[in-house]
């Protein structure tokens, strides 16, 4: 039960973090230089971007929950189970955003659920 709750925490904070980071990096623009001074300037811009910082916060929560779960469960269970992030984001899109979800997407979601059920049994 505790493992399931922690997996949910990992998954939800990870999904939120990905969205924030993606949105933040889109604001920063393409990183196409290897010049150290230019990279430093980009790094400063990144570290003052609100969405990016929110993303880092979410991913930190996700990371520490992940670390804790690894102390009591196998990596070959924990890592594949984090794929539940896709199920959570689709359910979120369907329930909260009332988005249309295609049959193919439901099929993919079902496969992820079946896969997680399989790795849970072993």
């Amino acid at each position: 039960m505790k493992t399931i709750l922690m997996m949910l925490l990992i998954v939800v904070s990870n999904a939120a973090g990905d969205v924030f980071i993606s949105s933040g990096m889109k604001q920063i623009g393409e990183v196409s230089t290897l010049n150290p001074r230019a990279l430093l300037r980009i790094a400063l811009r990144v570290l003052t971007c609100r969405d990016f910082i929110l993303g880092i916060g979410c991913l930190s929560v996700s990371f520490f929950s992940f670390l804790v779960v690894l102390a009591w469960a196998d990596m070959s269970f924990v890592v594949p189970a984090t794929a539940l992030v896709y199920v959570v984001s689709i359910l979120g899109a369907r329930v909260f955003l009332k988005e249309h979800v295609s049959a193919l997407r439901w099929a993919g979601t079902l496969l992820v659920c079946l896969g997680v059920a399989l790795i849970c049994r072993d």
Binding site: K2, T3, A15, D18, V19, I21, S22, M25, K26, I28, G29, E30, V31, S32, V46, L59, F63, F64, F66, L67, V68, L70, A71, W72, D74, M75, S76, F77, V78, V79, P80, A83, Y86, S89, I90, A93, R94, L97, E99, H100, V101, S102, L104, R105, A107, G108, T109, L110, L111, V112, C113, L114, G115, V116, A117, L118, I119, C120, R121, D122
Partner: protein, 144 residues
């Protein structure tokens, strides 16, 4: 090509990083934290384990590469193209951590990979967290 190379590199960094973290946490667990207790001591003990820091550094490298890739490629391409990472993670857990991987666990992992590919491949249909458009040939990386 640039995108696929970066995806391969960040997947490798993530998988090796996860393996280090898991190896480190197994050490922590064997030091008396294996019973599922959630305490500050567990985190502090973890942060005093060198292998955890190697894992954290690798995950930071993963994160930097992932963020860089997202600056020019869409999340809806990067995510499916890196779907093969689940298989690699399980393989590394078996090879380097000696975790017994049953046929059921392998089958589950493959199902998850295919499911993730299907879910993110259809991201153009206005659902999910990623950007609505898909650039490049989705799934190319998933078979590597």
């Amino acid at each position: 090509m640039k995108t696929l190379t970066v995806i391969f590199l960040f997947v490798l960094a993530e998988v090796i990083g996860n393996t280090c973290l898991s190896g480190g946490m197994k050490q922590v667990a064997s030091a008396g934290f294996a019973d599922g207790t959630l305490s500050l001591g567990l985190i502090l003990h973890a942060l005093a384990t060198p292998l955890i820091w190697v894992g954290i550094l690798l995950l930071l490298a993963y994160f930097a590469l992932f963020a860089a890739a997202l600056s020019w490629a869409d999340l809806s391409f990067v995510l499916p193209a890196s779907a093969f990472k689940y298989i690699l993670n399980v393989a590394f857990a078996g090879w380097f951590l000696g975790e017994p991987i049953s046929t059921g666990r392998w089958a589950g992992t493959v199902l998850i990979c295919v499911g993730v590919l299907l879910v993110v491949k259809t991201a153009g249909e206005k659902s999910g967290a990623g950007e609505p458009e898909i650039t490049g040939s989705v799934g190319e990386g998933g078979r590597s």
